[in-house]
């Protein structure tokens, strides 16, 4: 598969320990990769609706994020396309908007990317603190490698370019 535009998005809050996993993974991905300019890195923070454009405006998306439920075994998880929940739910504030809801809206708009992959790790510590826990830090390189392998496959198959 060859995609013209790929967005790699890191989600999470840097102020709450492992909540910041997605952004930390994105930064590591950015520093250790040399992909063409068509691969964009986006520090999505805890943004909700503002990220819609980054999903709807490209061919393929990778998202790094911390995952729940917390009782998941602590390892790197990779979910693809239909494995990702997409729904619009009842909520108390517009700040409660998760990535699933963005996918729901993109689907209603008919603007889902051709491929979307979530790479996530269940957090260990979610306290007010800047920096990841040692347990989650250990998993970061693997998460980044997963993303690099996938993006490599997306941007470098010359047979698919026409």
């Amino acid at each position: 598969m060859n995609y013209c535009s790929v967005n790699v998005i890191g989600l999470g809050n840097l102020l709450y320990g492992d909540e910041g996993f997605g952004v930390a993974a994105l930064n590591s991905f950015r520093d250790s990769s040399s992909f063409p300019e068509t691969v964009r890195c986006i520090d999505g923070g805890t943004q909700g609706i503002y990220l819609l454009d980054y999903i709807e405006s490209c061919d393929a998306v990778i998202v790094f994020d911390a995952l729940i439920p917390l009782d998941f075994e602590r390892r790197v998880y990779v979910y693809r396309n239909d494995e990702l929940p997409a729904f619009i739910h009842r909520k108390m504030s517009s700040h409660q908007m998760g990535f699933s809801e963005l996918l729901g809206i993109a689907r209603l708009h008919g603007k889902m990317p051709k491929e979307i992959v979530l790479i996530g790790v269940p957090p260990k510590e979610l306290e007010l603190n800047i920096g990841l826990s040692p347990e989650v830090s250990l998993l970061l390189p693997e998460a980044v490698r997963e993303a690099q392998t996938i993006v490599q496959g997306w941007v470098s198959s010359p047979a698919a370019t026409a």
Binding site: L15, T46, L51, D65, L67, I68, P69, L70, H95, Q96
Partner: protein, 572 residues
């Protein structure tokens, strides 16, 4: 026996707003308690850091409110260090702020609030022909043909029939509190999708001036963007014309979609005038035409109103130790001088001390401490902040644009000004304000062009960038009117480092718990007296809480692989 409805987010670790409402025999809310279930604690993280970096940390408090915290932060540091920013920087900040408010209000109305009034499932039954006729009768917006509504309806039916569609899951569809005919529901759903698509354009203005978005760059002393009409990399003619196009499109969307929808929807609900609440309103003001310290030039005026008395707008000074205070008699903190004694933020303390039940719990002991939010008060009064407060202060002060627009909306709805003191009034005020800030965007664009034409390209004042130019010790106050209300940052700097930093955010004003005198906060007060049709489906509570546009869940963002239900309702 009185029953209690508890509306709480799931999962709990997300940390959010919890409402406990007591009902009487006839299902009318007798009393309500609002609790913030997560500690944010940014004040602690900032201690000892370089004041010039504070904005970048405060920008991370919240995903939706990034720019407003950055703005309040640079303003408080500049106030402390006595820095005047260049004219271009003032204009650009105002333009970015107007952009933020406009986009945020639009998103709030369609994305969060509309579904409190619009029944998506009812739209499936609409007659597209009639929907088209109604749409064309209320607006000249071109996307209104029979075919357009037919296509959309088929798409919706497809989604619902595909079954996998938890999309729009958990809505209270079919709830008897929904009053719109199917055709108006269909129009609103169409505009829901259009608005979410369109809002992506507005915020591109932040990318142009802030270098990137999300998390645009701010700078103590000005703005980090360079202006040069002839350069490829700076703010140039091409980028300025892009901005102009965005402003034109935004104005059209608000005039032709948002405002007509607001009036059409409100027309069916004008019999539901609950949710007024305190009747006390506060605005710090914003949009300085000169220096920020000269608050008489603010386009959004400063002032307070007590007991709905529009004849009397009271002067406000957030620097005055006796005016803005925070106490913690019902909050999970301790104060060294006593929890019930209000402290001005320059004397503020942040000592967390959780004494609530261990989660998961059934209910909070609301006689004791029950929230992570402190209790801000203005001259000991609980205050509402946000669009309704600002519109009322401007209205009471005789602002011509606000007087005219409020008058127009009231006359179209055939209601008097007293209707403003309600949930619907809050929702209408947000729309009125959105139209106003779209006008501000154009105003500041014109100002920027005029100033650039004089040959002034300056965006940064570096006079006090070097810490050696700073006093040993100083303090500052920075404010802005964020989309959801008055936001203040109070800083103390000592030995070139942050000694203390206190933030009082709009949702702390609105969602605050009781104070030491037993006075309710704005949400608590607004919910009282509201009749519930079906307590198992507390649509009426969501309506009123949503009308304030709460900001509480933003600190955290986890991808939930299982959960579909994010807000739980229990009756105990």
């Amino acid at each position: 026996m009185a029953r209690k409805i508890v509306v709480d987010p799931i999962p709990r670790i997300e940390g959010h707003l919890r409402i406990e409402a007591k009902l009487n025999e006839s299902n009318v809310i007798e009393d309500a308690y609002s609790s913030g279930t997560m500690w944010r604690g940014i004040e602690v993280i900032l201690k000892g850091r370089d004041p010039r970096d504070a904005w970048a940390f405060t920008e991370r408090i919240c995903g939706v409110c990034t720019t407003v915290h950055a703005l309040a932060s640079v303003r408080c540091v500049e106030d402390a260090l006595g820095i005047d920013i260049p004219v271009n920087a003032r204009i650009i900040r105002n333009l970015m702020n107007a952009t933020q408010v406009t986009q945020d209000h639009l998103v709030h109305f369609y994305h969060l609030h509309a579904l409190d009034w619009v029944d998506v499932v009812s739209a499936l039954k609409a007659d597209p022909k009639q929907a088209s006729a109604i749409a064309q009768s209320i607006s000249s917006w071109p996307k209104s043909s029979v075919g357009y509504f037919k296509d959309l309806q088929q798409r919706l039916v497809g989604f619902v029939e595909s079954g996998q569609l938890g999309i729009f899951s958990n809505g209270y569809w079919g709830h008897p509190a929904y009053k719109l005919p199917p055709e108006v529901n269909l129009i609103a759903v169409a505009h829901y999708l259009e608005a979410l698509d369109f809002q992506k354009e507005i915020v591109k203005i932040h990318t142009i001036f802030g270098g990137k978005n999300p998390h645009p760059n701010y700078l103590v002393g000005g703005m980090a963007c360079a202006i040069d009409p002839n350069s490829d990399t700076a703010i140039n003619i091409e980028r300025l014309s892009m901005i102009k196009k965005i402003i034109d499109d935004t104005t059209t969307f608000i005039d032709q979609v948002y405002i007509p929808d607001l009036i059409a929807i409100a027309g069916y609900y004008k019999g539901w005038l609950h949710g007024g609440g305190l009747g006390n309103y506060l605005s710090y003001g914003d949009f300085p035409e000169t220096s920020l310290a000269d608050f008489k030039t603010l386009l959004w005026p400063r002032g307070a109103i007590l007991n709905k008395d529009l004849a009397n707008v009271i002067d406000v000074d957030p620097r005055d130790a006796s005016q803005v205070t925070e106490e913690v008699s019902h909050s999970w903190y301790t104060y060294s001088g006593g929890d019930g004694k209000g402290l001005h933020p320059w004397k503020g303390e942040t000592n967390p001390s959780y004494t609530g039940p261990k989660p998961p719990f059934e209910h909070l002991d609301t006689d004791k401490k029950y929230s992570w939010l402190k209790t801000p008060r203005w001259k000991n009064n609980p205050m509402e902040v946000g669009p309704l407060a600002r519109v009322l202060v401007a209205y009471a002060k005789g602002d011509p644009m606000i007087k005219e627009t409020v008058g127009l909306v009231l006359s179209k709805l055939e209601v008097g000004p007293e209707a403003l003191f309600s949930t619907l009034g809050r929702t209408a005020a947000r729309g009125i304000e959105c139209k106003q800030t779209a006008g501000f965007m154009r105003h500041y664009y014109d100002q920027l062009i005029a100033n650039i034409k004089t040959g002034d390209y300056r965006t940064f004042n570096s006079d006090r960038w070097d810490p050696s130019s700073w006093p040993e010790e100083c303090k500052g106050f920075g404010y802005t009117e964020a989309p959801r209300g008055s936001l203040g940052h109070w800083i103390q700097i000592k030995d070139k480092k942050i000694k203390e930093y206190q933030i009082v955010v709009p949702s702390t004003w609105n969602a605050s718990p009781r104070d030491a005198n037993g006075n309710s906060g704005a949400y608590e007060s607004a919910l009282k007296g509201t009749p519930m049709i079906n307590p198992e489906q507390p649509l009426e509570i969501l309506r009123t809480v949503h009308s304030f546009d709460p900001c509480l869940a933003c600190a955290s963002h986890l991808f939930d692989m299982n959960g579909k239900e994010i807000t739980s309702v229990t009756i105990v």
